[in-house]
Symmetry: C2
Subunit: 348 residues, 2 copies
């Protein structure tokens, strides 16, 4: 039983879990060139904002280490080009450009190509280690909210394979399994792309977590007829007032939890907050292509000319959230008005 890791630095290559094939086969790929990394991000073999950022950072470090020559100016040009190339693999991924910029900043003052190469590798590994620590701390804080034999519901895959390790919403379950603290998880399958069915069940089974899969439409009945002690979800973006954008279906779950008197938690690193946004109305909601709903796998499940509405995310208003679990502690619902202050004082 081991928590799966999706991206690993192997000095002259990067080892990644091919998430596209989960759960039907578990395949690790060895990425040896920056083109391999670009392709892995582009084709969603690596997914999850933090994991994408880490893969890109490792990719740029790899590109640096393969540079031949001693000309520092040429090296900088090389890195800038490779960075732009990697960023083009998924232009909307914020973590990707953030990680690449962080690496480039780190070599600005390097005195030699060799020092710059080393700096890139160190910084990339640091990004991964930092994310792992953040996730570990989120997991520990989240776990403090649960009791032995609790049943907790989640949606999508805010998991180890979407981050450096442990995940965010799934971190407490992995940590609980490590210390034989029994928690049962209800995983919502998460239509349309089924990340809950495909990824979360697989990931939790790897570390020995007791998980039961339901369709999203079964959440209400499950809350009413089974013991559900809490709901915990990840987040894509959190506005200054605590409104939280996350995978489509999250908002509905929050309403159902409220109706059944079940606490609803968001688990996310502080980097998820965008306090320039006053509230959730300012968060743009991406609409994705119709085929994601009209087809499952290769099979059409509705007439091809059917109109479809396919929002990728929804916004859960702060008043439905019992607490936001960050790496520095839990922001309880009574403290949401202090969220902007956290980003001035940088501590909870």
């Amino acid at each position: 039983m081991a928590i799966p890791r999706s991206v690993e630095w192997k000095e002259d290559s990067i080892k990644i879990l091919n998430q596209q094939l989960i759960p039907n086969s578990v395949e690790f790929l060895t990425l040896e060139t920056i083109e391999d990394v670009w392709d892995a991000i582009k084709t969603l073999k690596v997914r999850g904002a933090p994991a994408i950022g880490i893969a890109a950072a490792f990719g740029l470090a790899l590109a640096g280490s393969k540079f031949e020559g001693e000309d520092l100016q040429e090296f900088h040009t090389h890195i800038r080009e490779k960075s732009l190339y990697l960023a083009s693999s998924r232009p909307t991924a914020v973590n990707l450009t953030w990680a690449l910029r962080r690496l480039q900043n780190k070599i600005e003052n390097a005195a030699s190509v060799n020092e710059a190469k080393t700096n890139l590798v160190h910084e990339a590994i640091l990004i991964s280690v930092e994310d792992e620590n953040i996730c570990y701390n989120i997991g520990q804080h989240a776990l403090s909210l649960f009791n032995k034999n609790d049943s907790v519901m989640t949606i999508c895959n805010a998991g180890s394979i979407a981050t450096a390790y442990y995940g965010t919403a799934l971190a407490p379950f992995h940590l609980a399994a490590e210390v034989d603290f029994p928690i049962h998880v209800f995983a919502c399958e998460t239509r349309p792309l089924l990340q809950g069915a495909r990824l979360t069940t697989w990931e939790l089974l790897q570390s020995g977590v007791n998980v039961t899969l339901i369709t999203d439409s079964m959440a209400a009945h499950t809350m009413k007829t089974k013991k559900v002690d809490a709901v915990i979800v990840g987040a894509d973006r959190i506005s200054a007032n605590g409104d939280t954008a996350n995978k489509i279906g999250t908002y509905g779950l929050a309403i159902l939890a409220k109706q059944h008197g079940i606490p609803f938690y968001v688990a996310a690193p502080l980097s998820t907050f965008d306090i320039s946004l006053k509230n959730g109305d300012e968060i743009p909601i991406e609409e994705r292509k119709e085929e994601e709903i009209l087809k499952v796998g290769n099979e059409w499940v509705a007439p091809k000319n059917t109109s479809v509405y396919n929002p990728a995310f929804d916004v859960t208003p702060a008043e439905l959230i019992s607490g936001i679990i960050t790496e520095q502690g839990i922001i309880h619902e009574t403290e949401f008005d202090k969220i902007p202050d956290l980003f001035t004082t940088k501590s909870l």
Copy 2:
């Protein structure tokens, strides 16, 4: 543009729509023997409680018409045997045994084999015509609740192809389309078996209804961000207090509707009421096999050894229901305490 019909009496055969192939191909089958009818019910080519009852009734009439000889006692034995055989195609379908019993009762006093044969055919056709009338009336009453350009959400397929014609929850949309009264429908895909995606979108497109498909997980966000004026659903069983068992996901929709101030209607014939049940707690909930969730089509979407909870129905408590639309009129939420009286006086 025509409302599809799923079961039709053709004198020496029965014409059915093969619902298993919808929406990928539209195939009508000609059932010429009682074995064909048994198989069509068994393999879900015909589905929907009223449609199954009608198919079985036509099947028994067909078996009667093919009887050779003039011995009335032998005819009765023949019909009893064929009736038991047809009932075995789907042992839990209440409408199936109800229809078969109704046909058998009709020939008890027949004076000849010929008269009995005719009685069977007439009674089977009557069952179909009665159901069509019931659905038409439900549709008209339901339509009175909607305004031009309303957007109405539904789940599963309480449609024309599940009944003799028109359907229950879908009847008002077909009737509106016939008179160019514009109503827009949001169809929830209805996991796990996707009847909303596979059947409802197809059925509504046939009669020219403007329909948009969403996943079940998008209902809350759609209610919040789009114009949704009402929700209307079918019912499998309604208890004496108005609690309603229907396809899994219905209860969640009802909570979401309440939260967004959207009226929530149940459309069902009076035969759906079981006033021997005090409330919804007495309605048993069937759990179905794990593969319905673990697989979509032939593709596994979760690890094969994943635990699954797969309830087929849920119960929506009466307090979340704005009205129950029957063939005799609308029972408004303030009148639910009078439901038992309806079955004494037999009128609304």
